[in-house]
């Protein structure tokens, strides 16, 4: 279990992380989500003892990372954004070095190496020079390195950046399988990734924790606004008269077109979760033909954008975001 309280990191007068407080429970996959420059890497570097905090406290399984660094660090496996690989060594040599530096005993060394290499699927390339490996394999070696000496927490900084779609899927599967046995914290600026892999989300923006919870919780927390997009074959007045009396409907916007159809935007609150039925029955009671009925709810993406898009620095340009989304859709 990791406890972070009032963590602050300043570089000169620039604040990278401000008053961050959260708890990481054992046995779950946590996702640090935030736009680039939000303070994700800084936080991870502090959690792993690579960076000293300006203020605040981090304890790992009860050991303070600043007071008892050796004990705390022994419980953490870390893969930084750029895998720290000695490219002139073979995979086996490298992993054997890291294992010994982490204090794995010689008798247990071979077993430990085999275990880490099998889990990450790098056994085939064990005797190749890291220099000659593809980026996906390097990332796996980086994860294997983090797994050595059996840490209870694995911290991965942007583990899928720069990989091709197939490699991304493979690494995500690997992370999910790791999450079955131990705590995993990963950072990402990619939503679908966090949604696909994580049990808990910590949204971080400008060094502050802006939201946390399960992906579903976050969605519902910010899902105050549910909108139905309905197209009916009727006049705007008629449609409004049918829908406005339905309990839960707060607003109906109607836009008629020349073909006698009407596009409706219906804002509702849906405490019982039966709005689909209510709306369609209300329309059919009035014998209004429904051409299209679609429910729209705030997705994690909307939450993310709402929280991070302030003062024009958080969100990315719309076009770029869509492109990226499409790419990920292909990937997953």
């Amino acid at each position: 279990m990791i406890q972070v309280s009032h963590l602050t990191k300043r570089y000169g007068d620039r604040t990278a992380v401000e008053d961050l407080t959260f708890t990481v429970e054992s046995g779950l996959v946590y996702g640090f989500l935030g736009p680039n420059g939000a303070g994700k890497s800084t936080t991870m570097n502090i959690l792993t003892g690579c960076l000293a905090a300006t203020e605040g406290q981090v304890t790992i399984d009860g050991f303070d990372i600043f007071e008892q660094p050796a004990k705390a660090k022994a419980r953490v496996g870390y893969l930084p954004e750029q895998p720290p690989l000695y490219t002139g060594m073979t995979v086996r040599e490298y992993l054997s070095f890291v294992a010994r530096a982490k204090g794995v005993r010689t008798a247990a060394l071979d077993g430990e190496l085999e275990r880490a290499m099998t889990v990450t699927g790098v056994t085939d390339v064990a005797d190749r020079l890291i220099r000659n490996l593809s980026k996906g394999y390097r990332q796996r070696v980086g994860i294997a390195q983090a797994l050595l000496a059996d840490p209870s927490v694995i911290i991965l900084d942007e583990p899928t950046v720069g990989l091709d779609p197939l490699q991304i899927v493979e690494i995500r599967e690997l992370i999910r399988s790791l999450g079955r046995e131990r705590t995993v914290i990963l950072s990402s600026h990619i939503l679908s990734e966090v949604q696909a892999v994580c049990d808990r989300v910590l949204m971080i923006h400008r060094g502050r924790l802006v939201a946390s919870g399960t992906p579903a919780e976050l969605e519902s927390q910010f899902a105050g606004k549910i909108t139905y997009r309905i197209t009916v074959k009727a006049g705007p007045l008629e449609a409004r008269e049918a829908l406005e009396p339905v309990p839960g409907v707060t607003e109906v916007l109607a836009k008629p077109d020349e073909a006698g159809r009407c596009a409706l935007e219906v804002s509702v609150t849906d405490p019982d979760g039966d709005m689909d039925e209510k709306l369609s029955f209300a329309l059919s009671d009035k014998r209004i033909p429904v051409l299209r009925l679609e429910r729209e709810q705030a997705s994690l993406e909307d939450v993310f954008l709402a929280l991070t898009r302030d003062a024009g620095t958080g969100g990315q340009p719309e076009g770029k975001r869509k492109r990226r989304k499409r790419k990920e859709a292909q990937a997953s």
Partner: protein, 290 residues
């Protein structure tokens, strides 16, 4: 620590670094042995005395990668996240460098008996030869620590080599350089004050704490002024004297005069310890402001 030591040794011996350094030392060692002993000299300390100059190139070559390369490749992140203290990591690296530094020097140690066996007239006194060799090893140990420290300040291997070479050069010519300072007390004071100012700048760069460095330097300068006011006459030529005592390379002179100077050995060990300590501090500083 052994893991760090072995990895560092491995990288020195699997790359060119260790071999280039070894070849350099042995090549010039061989040249000097031939040049001196073919001419009939029986003093092996001359060889070692000349060899100190080869350290000027050898040490930067050997130490340039040690930490600068880790920074450059971002593998230092791994070192920071290991459950090992920075002292152990730095010590592991240093011992590996020291091992590689010592190997060709030990091979040089084979020369005196070989020359003695082949020589037709005159023999090298082995006692003074090995006394000087011990001094030479300790000089190398001190210089290696300085090189490691310079490497820890840099992110670029070439720059680390260049900076280390400049530092070695200045250290080598320290005494001749101080010869240009006049013997007057005022000149000595000026030199001391300048040195204190340079020290202040280094302190400022290292700690990135301008206020602290300024106060410290001001205190140092004030202390110098006070000493000057109290013992004005003592200051005559004092700077050159102090520098002469501190000059790493000049400390080796006594060995070449066939004197086994234990104080110099202690001095070399202290220099190595100070620079290893500074290396640890320089690594730890990165933890504060990466």
């Amino acid at each position: 620590m052994t893991a760090i030591y072995e990895r560092e040794l491995d990288s020195l011996m699997n790359g060119l670094t260790g071999y280039v350094y070894g070849a350099l030392m042995l090549l010039f060692g061989g040249i000097y042995v031939m040049a001196y002993h073919l001419e009939g000299s029986v003093d092996f300390t001359y060889v070692l005395y000349s060899m100190t100059f080869i350290f000027l190139i050898g040490i930067p070559l050997l130490t340039m990668r040690s930490i600068a390369e880790e920074r450059h490749q971002k593998t230092d992140q791994l070192l920071y996240s290991l459950p090992l203290s920075m002292t152990r990591i730095v010590l592991g690296k240093y011992l590996a460098l020291a091992t590689v530094m010592v190997i060709p020097v030990l091979i040089l140690g084979l020369y005196p008996p070989v020359v003695n066996a082949l020589a037709e007239s005159g023999t090298i006194p082995l006692k003074s030869a090995y006394g000087a060799l011990v001094g030479f090893v300790f000089l190398g140990l001190a210089l290696t620590a300085i090189g490691l420290f310079v490497s820890s300040l840099m992110e670029n291997v070439g720059l680390a080599a260049g900076a280390c070479f400049v530092v070695m050069l200045v250290l080598y010519f320290l005494t001749p350089l101080t010869g240009y300072i006049s013997d007057s007390p005022a000149a000595s004071l000026t030199a001391f004050c300048l040195a204190a100012a340079v020290f202040g700048i280094i302190l400022w760069r290292l700690t990135r704490n301008g206020g602290f460095a300024l106060v410290f330097t001001a205190a140092l300068e004030a202390a110098l002024g006070a000493c000057f006011a109290l013992w004005r006459t003592r200051f005559g030529g004092l700077f050159a004297e102090v520098v002469g005592k501190l000059a790493v390379f000049d400390r080796f002179d006594s060995f070449s005069y066939d004197i086994f100077d234990l104080r110099s050995i202690v001095y070399y060990i202290s220099v190595a310890a100070v620079f290893l300590f500074l290396t640890v501090q320089s690594m730890e500083r990165r933890r504060w402001a990466a």
